[in-house]
């Protein structure tokens, strides 16, 4: 789960990690008031769940409370389109007004799970302000990595090693060590999947401060953090993804595709996207209806696909292990009738009650073309795409 910068900084502060003085505003006049409280030059930062906001005017320096109000008015209520958002962008409902600092150095610090090591890994780099993937590509030797220990946590000497790798000045060493340790506790005690401070700055007076902050929370662990779960901002989600979330469906909207995919199993769903691509079209979504989906969830899954305006054709691919094909078919028919959709469907059904399922679909009056298996589905899809005309 993504959360906003201001929420991430709330969590950081709770664990003792310093951030610039700041408050969040929902209206331009609030923004003005906060700016005058902070005083001097401030920065106005659009609160959106997307990186790259700086490059599209989402982060702006202003010299007066009046200007803070003006800039906030320009941001609040609009949608920000960054390289990480779809073409529709994400809404700016709030801005953060933060003090500006005299910065001596910009560093990078993050924590993620390394699945292969089976442990959280702290990544530190002197190349603050750059995207870590770019640093990893260009100068991998500038990234310092240390894994925490499941029993001990991040040991003090490792925190010290990290602080030294960051090359902080001697007078900032102690506070950097503390910050690294505190950040590790943020990661562990909140079940994060990502904590990223980019940049971590050293100010002219040698303070160490998290200038920006990104925290992703692990969805699977939200059950033990009810207060964090409340931080979810549905407005930042694609409306279809939001509906999928509510129906407990694993769904990802993909930009620019026209083939809706409805599959059981994450692996098969990816494979279905892959064969769609090989058939000459882009998938409009990833969708795993799961193993034991009941008819209601299947109906909602189908409706989410149909409600996606990009979808011109639907590829249903089912290998029913736990799920029953006939139940899935009934769900599709019910949802198709309710939505009065006329979108053509290519359907491959195997496993439990596959024949019954296919029969239900065939007898439904919907535009159904059967396919024998995964390879066959690719062939049939290609034919249907040719019939539809056009290509991506």
């Amino acid at each position: 789960m993504n959360i906003h910068e201001y929420q991430a900084k709330e969590i950081l502060n709770r664990f003792g990690v310093p951030t610039p003085r700041a408050e969040v505003a929902s209206t331009p006049s609030e923004a003005k008031q906060i700016a005058s409280q902070i005083g001097g030059r401030v920065v106005v930062k659009a609160q959106v769940h997307a990186g790259g906001r700086g490059k599209v005017g989402g982060v702006r320096l202003v010299d007066s409370p009046e200007e803070a109000k003006k800039v906030s008015a320009e941001l609040i209520g609009t949608r920000l389109i960054t390289k990480q958002t779809g073409a529709t962008g994400v809404p700016v409902d709030k801005v953060m007004i933060a003090e500006t600092l005299d910065i001596k150095d910009e560093l990078y610090l993050s924590i993620v799970i390394d699945g292969d090591l089976g442990a959280p890994v702290v990544m530190a780099s002197t190349e603050g302000g750059m995207e870590i993937e770019e640093v990893a590509e260009a100068t991998p030797e500038k990234i310092f990595r240390i894994a925490g220990d499941p029993l001990i946590g991040l040991t003090g000497y490792h925190a010290r090693d990290i602080a030294m790798a960051l090359g902080v000045p001697k007078q900032s060493l102690k506070s950097t060590i503390k910050l690294v340790s505190d950040l590790y506790r943020v990661f562990i005690e909140n079940d994060c999947s990502l904590v990223e401070i980019n940049p971590l700055v050293i100010t002219e007076d040698d303070q160490v401060i998290a200038l920006d902050a990104k925290i992703n929370l692990e969805d699977d662990a939200l059950f033990r953090h009810p207060n964090l779960a409340k931080m979810r901002d549905h407005n930042q989600q694609d409306p279809l993804e939001q509906r999928a979330d509510e129906a407990d469906l694993a769904y990802v909207k993909l930009d620019g595709g026209r083939v809706g995919c409805m599959v059981n199993g994450a692996g098969l769903a990816m494979a279905t996207m892959d064969i769609t691509k090989s058939a000459g079209a882009d998938p409009a979504n990833f969708l795993d209806i799961g193993g034991s989906a009941d008819q209601k969830r299947i109906e909602e899954a189908f409706k989410i696909i149909v409600d996606d305006e990009d979808v011109e054709i639907i590829l249903v691919n089912l290998f029913a292990g736990i799920a029953r094909s006939d139940v899935v078919a009934q769900g599709i028919v019910a949802a198709a009738k309710e939505t009065k959709t006329t979108v053509p469907m290519v359907v491959a059904m195997r496993g439990t009650n596959a024949e019954e399922g296919l029969e239900i679909l065939s007898n439904s009056g919907l535009d159904i073309t059967g396919a024998p298996d995964l390879a066959g589905a690719a062939v049939v899809l290609q034919q249907k795409l040719l019939e539809l005309g056009g290509s991506d």
């Binding site: 590509e137 993909l254 995964l374």
Partner: protein, 290 residues
């Protein structure tokens, strides 16, 4: 002989809620020797009138000699169930449960590091050896056929897909192993490859990977150095966008190594028969073996 499960499997099922009971029933119907059911508050009762219930794994193991355990408990309790089975001396623990918090799995892996138990999963379909009718997990028993191809996969449904294609091309399976889709998981590709390599019944291996992590690359290294049997591999997710979690917690492109193309490259360099799509596994295996 097959690997991991077989005629000596004495199965304990933990967590007999709706799904667990359904699967336990199918497991028994398939012919697996299920000796114990563990679920709180059902002492002195029997599952399907035959398999005794216990409140604790320790008691179940003591009284039934169970050596293999499968876990269907809800995600918040999965770590505890794994540890309970490990502490009770179960040799093979298969955790089907999806959605186990990753930091729980981090702890589990640290806990079992020096213990004799082997863990498969979490978030996996489990293991099935057709010749000995031993099914530990949720792989459908009606799609498999005894034979000599070992199947190992991160995905459940793609395991079924591979099985179906093999059967369609007239090939059976020695053992099918779903290692699971979580980023931190017990038994890895490499572990299973090692087992298949030394298994007399396995002549060839199907490996199905997906985006995320570097386990496929590690598998490729292992194959290059240690595996003499032919391996056919497919990687799902070549069309997935970066940074988005594709259902499985582990299926996310976080860096270059996580890309399907990088994994394909590594496997090809190791002499693996890599197919462009999981749809072509059966045909390729037939070509390789005949």
């Amino acid at each position: 002989m097959a690997i991991l499960v077989g005629e000596n499997t004495r199965l304990l099922v933990q967590g007999l809620g709706r799904d667990g009971s359904f699967q336990a029933s199918r497991t028994r119907r398939y012919g697996t020797n299920m000796v114990a059911a563990v679920h709180p508050g059902r002492d002195n009762l029997k599952f399907e009138d035959e398999v005794p219930y216990f409140s604790t794994v320790a008691k179940a193991v003591e009284q039934t000699g169970a050596n293999t355990g499968v876990i269907f408990v809800p995600a918040p309790f999965a770590m505890d169930a794994i540890i309970e089975q490990v502490d009770a001396g179960i040799e093979l623990v298969v955790c089907i449960t999806e959605g186990v918090p990753v930091l729980d799995m981090v702890k589990v892996m640290a806990y079992i590091k020096d213990k004799p138990t082997r863990l498969i999963g979490s978030n996996c379909p489990g293991v099935l050896s057709p010749a000995s009718k031993a099914k530990v997990g949720i792989v459908p028993g009606n799609i498999v056929r005894p034979g000599n191809v070992g199947v190992v996969s991160r995905s459940g449904t793609l395991t079924y897909e591979a099985i179906a294609q093999l059967v369609q091309h007239d090939m059976g399976q020695s053992t099918c192993v779903g290692i699971g889709g979580d980023p931190v998981h017990g038994t890895t590709f490499t572990d299973v490859l090692e087992l298949f390599q030394s298994d007399d019944e396995t002549e060839a291996i199907v490996l199905i990977g997906e985006i995320g992590g570097i386990r496929e690359q590690l598998a490729a290294e292992y194959i290059k150095d240690h595996v003499t049997k032919p391996v056919v591999a497919a990687i799902a997710g070549s069309s997935a966008p970066p940074g988005k979690r594709m259902g499985h917690a582990g299926a996310i492109i976080t860096g270059k190594a996580a890309l399907a193309s990088e994994k394909n490259k590594a496997l090809e360099a190791a002499g693996v028969h890599v197919v462009d799509s999981p749809a072509l596994i059966g045909a390729k295996m037939q070509e390789v073996l005949h």
